[in-house]
Amino acid sequence: MCGPCQAGVRAVPGTAVSLDGMGTEDLVVRAEGLRKRFGSTQALDGVDLRMRRGTVLGVLGPNGAGKTTAVRVLATLLRPDEGSAFVAGVDVLKNPQEVRRKVGLTGQYASVDEDLTGVQNLVLIGRLLDLSGRDARRRADELLAWFDLTEAAQRPAKTYSGGMRRRLDLAASLVGRPEVIFLDEPTTGLDPAKREDMWGVVRTQVASGASVLLTTQYLEEADALADEIVVVDHGRVIAHDTPDGLKRKVGGQTLRVRPADPGRLPDVLRLLDLLAAPGTSASLDESAGSRPGAVSAPVTSDESLDKLIPALRGERIEVTELALHLPSLDEVFHALTGRTKAEELV
C-alpha cells in the first residue's frame, strides 16, 4: 500500500450546483469558445469549461473528442485558434508563464526522462521551478516516499514498470505544489488496483486544497472522482452537471420495492403500476442477475418515492428494500452521444 491510497479522503461531497449562478471568483478554470483546428480536423469546436476551486472536474468523452486538445490549451502547450481561457485567475493566452507557475500537468504518456533516475527526474523539475539544490532534493525525496518509489529512486526510469512511471510522472507534476492539476487520462492502461491508487492520489490532492481537472474515457472513473462532469464529443461540450444531475437529466430512474412477504408481490405490483412513467408498467424482477421477489418500475421524478411510501403504509406492506436507482453513467453517455460506451470507440 502506498501513502496516497491510505489517505483517500473524499473531498467536497457533491453538493447541488447551480452553474449559472456561479461567481467567477470561485472559478479556477474558465474557458470560453475554445476552437482549435488541425488540418481538416476541428479538434475543439467552441468549448466552454468552468471548474470551481477545490473540486474535481471530470472531462469525459470518447477518443478524439477533443479532451487532450482542451487540456493542452489550458496547460499553455497549445494556442487555440479562437476563444479565451483563464486558469487560477490568469489569462492563458496573455500570460502563459504565470499560468505555468500555478499548474501541474500529467499527460497521457508518461513524460519522464528514461535515462535519469527517479530522484534525478524530480530534482531537475525542482531546479527548473527555481528551488535551491537542497530544497529540490528534499521535495523529490518527499514525493518519492509518498508515491512508494523510494526503493527505486536511484534506478533509471527505464527500468520502471508502467505503473511506476505513471506515479513518477504524476510526482513530477506535483513538485511545484500546483494550485491546479491537469491529468490527461491518468489511468488509461493501468490495472484496476493501480487505478484505485491513482484515485486516492487525486482525492488527497483535492483534500489538501488543489483543484483537479481530469480527462477520462472511463465513466466509472468520472463517477467515482468528479464533483462535476463535462461530457465532450466532436469538440463540443454536450453536457455539464454533477454525476447525479447528469443521471437525473437523462431520466430512466427505476423504483424498486421488495416486500418482506412475497405473498404481497401482487399488491406491490399494483401500487407501482400507478406510479410508473407514462407508457410503462411495473414488472416483477426476473432479469438475470437480480434476485427475484422484487418489483421495479421506471419513474420520471423523485416524487414517486414520496407517493409510494404512504401508499405502502396504507396497505400495511412491509418492505425489505426500497430504492430509487439512477441510471449508470454508461446509460447516460449512451443517451447523450448515441453511442454505447466510451471505451468501445477506441
Partner: protein, 256 residues
C-alpha cells in the same frame, strides 16, 4: 542557496546537467567523438597520406588540424537526433509546461555538447601525437585552436538543432545533416590543398565556412597566417548563430 544568475542561464545549466547525465549513462553515444575521428585519422593518414604528399608524416601534420574541423561539424549531428527523440518521447512536454524560457531546453542541450567537442579535440590531439603529430607553434596557440574548435562546434550545431526540430524522425536528422556536412567538410582544405581543384569547386571552397576554420586551426597548430582566416571564421560563427538560433527556436515553438 540562492543564485543570482539570470533564469535562462540557471535553467539551461540544470538542463545541460540532464544531458550530461544521459551521456554518462550511455558512453556508446560518444563513439562519434572518440573512436570515429581516430579511425578517420588512421584511414586517411595511412591509406591516402603516401599518395597525396609522398610522406605520411607531412600529410599527418596537414591533415590533423582539418580533421579537427570535420569531426566537430559531424559531432553536432547527434545533438539534433537526441533532441528529436526527446520531443517524440514527450519529455519536452514536461519542460514546456514549466515556467522556464522556451530557449532553455535547447540552450541546455547545446551547452552539454561542449563535453563532446572537447572530447574530439583531446582524442585527436593525443592520438595524433602518438602517430607522430607535433604542434609547431606553442602551447597557447594550441589551446586557442581547441577553444576556437569548440566555439565553432557550439555555433555549427544549431543547424543540427534546427533540423532536429523540423524533421519527423531522428534517423532523418542524420540523413539531412550528412547531406550538408559531407560536402562542407570534403569540399574544403581539410584533406587536400585546394589549388588542384577545378574552378567551380574552388569557388565552393572559398565560400565554405569550414575553409577559414581549417586555415585558422592549421595556422594555430603548425604555423601560418591566423588573423585573416580567424576574422572570417568568427564572422561565420556569428552568422550561424544569428540565422539558426531563431530558426531553431521558432521550429521548437511550433512543434506541438
Amino acid at each position: 542557496m540562492t543564485t543570482l544568475a539570470p533564469p535562462l542561464a540557471r535553467h539551461s545549466a540544470a538542463l545541460a546537467k540532464r544531458s550530461l547525465i544521459k551521456t554518462m549513462r550511455t558512453p556508446e553515444a560518444l563513439i562519434d567523438v572518440t573512436i570515429q575521428p581516430v579511425i578517420f585519422l588512421l584511414l586517411f593518414t595511412y591509406l591516402f597520406g603516401g599518395a597525396i604528399t609522398g610522406d605520411r608524416h607531412t600529410y599527418l601534420q596537414f591533415l590533423l588540424p582539418g580533421m579537427l574541423a570535420q569531426s566537430l561539424a559531424m559531432g553536432g549531428v547527434a545533438l539534433g537526433q537526441n533532441l528529436n527523440a526527446d520531443i517524440e518521447k514527450g519529455v519536452f512536454d514536461r519542460f514546456r509546461s514549466l515556467p522556464i524560457s522556451r530557449a532553455a531546453p535547447l540552450v541546455g542541450a547545446v551547452l552539454a555538447d561542449v563535453v563532446r567537442y572537447l572530447s574530439v579535440c583531446v582524442v585527436l590531439l593525443l592520438f595524433g601525437s602518438i602517430m607522430g603529430f607535433r604542434v609547431e607553434t606553442g602551447f597557447l596557440p594550441a589551446v586557442a585552436a581547441v577553444a576556437l574548435s569548440i566555439g565553432f562546434g557550439l555555433c555549427f550545431c544549431w543547424i543540427s538543432v534546427w533540423v532536429g526540430m523540423m524533421v519527423r524522425t531522428s534517423g532523418a536528422v542524420q540523413g539531412v545533416m550528412f547531406l550538408l556536412v559531407l560536402p562542407l567538410t570534403f569540399g574544403s582544405p581539410v584533406f587536400v590543398a585546394t589549388d588542384t581543384l577545378p574552378g567551380w569547386l574552388q569557388a565552393f571552397v572559398s565560400v565554405n565556412p569550414i575553409t577559414p576554420l581549417v586555415k585558422t586551426i592549421r595556422g594555430l597548430l603548425i604555423g601560418g597566417p591566423v588573423a585573416g582566416p580567424l576574422t572570417t571564421t568568427l564572422m561565420f560563427m556569428a552568422g550561424l548563430l544569428v540565422i539558426f538560433v531563431p530558426l531553431a527556436l521558432r521550429a521548437y515553438s511550433r512543434r506541438a
